[in-house]
Structure formats: C-alpha cells, structure tokens
C-alpha cells in the first residue's frame, strides 16, 4: 500500500464491539491477515453503544465510510444489544440513503471473535467499495473547508 498523494485513500471509521468484533479484528492481526490501513477501529462495549450521532459526527468530520461491527444476532454478550443496534442502524442508514448520501458508505457487519478472516475480508471489501465511490463529495460540498 503505497502512500501516494495522488491516489485517493478513504477515511474509514469502524466501531467494533469489545466482545466479538474487536476480538475478531485482533484475530485478523494474530493471523497477519491484511487489510488497508485506512480502517481505524474504535472500541465500544457493544454495538448498541453506537449512537447515530457518532456516525454522523464521523461523516461531519470527514470520514468517507462508517462501518459498525457487532456480535452475530443471538450471540450478543449482553443478550440483546445487537438486536437494538440492528434496528437503529437499519433505520439510520435508510434515512441517510433517503437524504441522498450514498448508501454504500455505511455498513453493519456481524463478526464473531473467531472470524478474523471475515473481519479482514469485510474491511477489504468495504474499503474497496468506498474507494470506488471516491471522496465523500456530497458531504464534502456541505462541509465548510476549514
């Protein structure tokens, strides 16, 4: 991954739940599974801790894509957190799409602690999708260039 000023590298924020997805990301590391350095992970206790405000905040501050990873439905460490997260994020993403923000910039993925490979693969495909979309133009236009 050559850092080259001419090629666009997206900014990706990944919210990972502490119990499954963050451990899955660790496993990807332990197994040396590559994914782009554009992904930066924020650890949260549970996917249900992710407030829509955080997602919007990330976009507001210049993120090109936001992905939320949690335990598989039914496997939540807190029994039901990801079920609530699933509803909230579905509605939020649907709303962003409705407002004309490309729907491919948002994603929810369930990654268990054993799915290091899935984590890496998910990140690769997400980065690829967002890179293809290019700079978050529509939001860029909205944001004052400070």
């Amino acid at each position: 991954m050559q850092m080259n000023d001419n090629t666009f590298r997206p900014k990706i924020v990944a919210f990972c739940c502490n119990w499954c997805s963050y451990a899955g990301a660790d496993l990807a590391g332990t197994n040396r599974l590559n994914y782009p350095a554009d992904v930066k992970i924020i650890r949260v206790p549970c996917s249900c801790r992710v407030n829509p405000t955080f997602v919007l905040r990330a976009f507001g501050r210049g993120a090109d894509g936001v992905i939320i990873c949690g335990c598989h439905p039914g496997d939540c460490h807190y029994t039901s957190g990801n079920y609530y997260a699933r509803r909230r994020m579905t509605l939020l993403f649907s709303m962003l799409d409705y407002l004309g923000i490309e729907r491919e910039r948002t994603r929810v993925e369930w990654v268990s602690a054993a799915e290091g490979a899935k984590f890496a693969q998910t990140m690769n495909s997400f980065v690829e999708t967002v890179t293809k979309l290019g700079k978050n133009k529509r939001l860029e236009d909205l944001r004052c260039k400070k």
Binding site: P52, T53, L56, R57, F59, G60, P73, G74, S80, Y83, Y84, R86, R87, R88, M89, T90, L91, L92, F93, S94, M95, L96, D97, Y98, L99, G100, I101, E102, R103, E104, T106, R107, V108, R138, L139, D141, L142, R143, C144
Partner: protein, 291 residues
C-alpha cells in the same frame, strides 16, 4: 361546534370540575388562532375559537399544564389524541389532572393557501379519537391514507436527485427551532443541541452538514415515538416538509417491523425499544431500490 364547546367549557369551569380550559384563542387574523388557557366564561365567550385554523396540537401544552394544581380541560382533535397517549406513555402528562374532550375535526386549512386543506389533513391517517373523557361531535375511523406517497416518490428518485431535493429544502433552514419546540415528542428537559456538555451542542449550524445533522438527529430522536401529527411542518417558517423525514422512519418501521402507530395505545413498546430475532438485516437498505 364552537358554540357547544364554549358552553361545555363554561359548564366544566362553573361546576368546579376543572379550573382551566386549554383551547384556541382567536388571533388578529382569522388564521392565526393560538393555543391558550381560559379561566372564565366571559373570556371563553369572547375569545375562544374553533374553526379550520385551529391546527395547533394542544397535547404538548399539557406537559406543563397537567403539572399544575387542579384539573385542566383540553380539546383534542383526533390526531392530537395520539400525541396525548404517547405523552402519557412517556410519563409526561399526568392523566389524572386532565379532562380530555375529543372534538370532531374535518381537516384544517393551510394558512398559506387558505382555500386548501393542510397537507397533513388532506392525507389524514385517522379521524378516530384514541383517548378522551367525553366527545363533542363524532369520532371517525382510521383512514386509508396516502401519506406515504411523497416518501415513495422520493425513494424512487436517484440518490443524486434525492440529495438535490433535500439540499434545496434543508438549506432554507434558519434553525429557529420551531419544529423542535412544537413537537409533542420533543419534551427533553434539555435538548442535546442546547447542552454544551452533550458533545453535540449546536445552536446554529456552522455549515450545511450540520443543518442536515440537526434534522436527521431530530427525526431519529422521535423515531418510533412520532405520531405523525405534522406540527413540525406546520410551524416551519421556511415551509420545509419536515414531516417527510418523520414519515420515512414511520414507513420503514411499518415495512420492516410491522405496522406501528405511536400513541394508538398507552402501553406499547415502541419499535426502537423492541426487537425480534428475525428482524431484517441492515443490508436491506442496500438491497431495495436503485441508488
């Protein structure tokens, strides 16, 4: 109608059953009736009004009024009763302090085009009063409404078209906060946008993104609790169709999690504080329609 309501209100006051009446006060012009509290018969006779310009949803005023001494009588149109129920469910209205009088409503007129019904009334979802102590006039039925037509139209646009549409609408926002202040679902002690400690304080938008942010968060905060009373759009001085944001959430909720009407009953679990194991995955957003 108005005459019967005044008589009944005066009767309730004189019998001591209530000590205040929440209704609409005639304004300077025929179309600017405002919510008001009446305490005596003379005032009622002179200033109480109920006509096709009484759009204001009085249920939100009960949040403060029902907290005071004594019982307050209130007139509620069918759509107001939904907000009323929802506020009771959220412990915002003390039901025992309220005497609710359901009043028949045949639709309110648009103040900008006084010949026309307001959009929310033209696509009225229900003429049924879901809560009242007594009724003046008739309570109707839940209607087959075409209120999601515009949402659907937007959904069928391309992503770029939608972006342009909303840019056009939301860029007019002056952040007067009228939509928030009138909304019966916005009853926080302190709004996060006003609270410097919330991390999302935002009194005035610094850039167009923050304009969007305010409206997305506002709609999200009332999602699952919004009864679609349409007050937000009514009060918007810039005539931004804010109800289209709320209705998008309502439509999604209905489609994904089953029909839900906030405020239909008092003891319901809203769709955002509920789940089923077989709920749709968020990828449903990518799968439907074209981008």
């Amino acid at each position: 109608m108005q005459k019967v309501m005044i008589e009944r209100a005066a009767e309730l006051l004189s019998s001591g059953k209530v000590n205040r009446v929440l209704g609409w006060r005639a304004g300077l012009f025929a179309h600017d009736n405002t919510p008001s509290v009446f305490t005596d018969a003379a005032d009622l006779q002179a200033n109480f009004v109920y006509n096709e310009f009484c759009g204001a949803n009085l249920s939100k005023y009960l949040v403060k009024e029902s907290d005071k001494e004594g019982t307050v009588a209130v007139f509620l149109k069918p759509c107001d009763t939904y907000s009323f129920n929802q506020l009771i469910a959220e412990h915002k209205i003390k039901r025992d302090n309220v005497y609710a009088i359901g009043v028949q409503c045949n639709g309110m007129k648009d103040v900008n085009d006084r010949e026309k019904l307001e959009e929310r009334c033209a696509s009225c979802k229900s003429r049924k009063h879901v809560a009242y102590d007594e009724l003046i006039g008739e309570s109707g039925e839940i209607l087959d409404s075409n209120r999601f037509d515009m949402v659907e139209k937007l959904e069928n646009m391309t992503s770029e078209e939608r972006f342009e549409f909303w840019r056009g609408e939301l860029s007019r926002c002056v952040r007067c906060n009228a939509c928030r202040n009138v909304c019966p679902a916005c009853t926080c002690e302190k709004c996060i946008f006003d609270n410097p400690d919330s991390g999302s304080a935002n009194k005035a938008p610094a850039d167009p993104f923050e304009e969007n942010l305010f409206h997305i968060i506002r709609a999200f905060h009332v999602a699952g609790r919004c009864t679609d009373c349409g007050e937000c759009s009514r009060v918007c001085p810039e005539n931004i169709p804010l109800h289209l944001l709320n209705r998008k959430f309502i439509k999604d909720i209905n489609e994904l999690y089953g029909e839900y009407q906030a405020g239909e009953t008092v003891n319901e679990r809203g769709p955002l504080v509920n789940y089923t194991q077989g709920d749709a995955e968020p990828s449903v957003v990518y799968e439907r329609g074209n981008s």
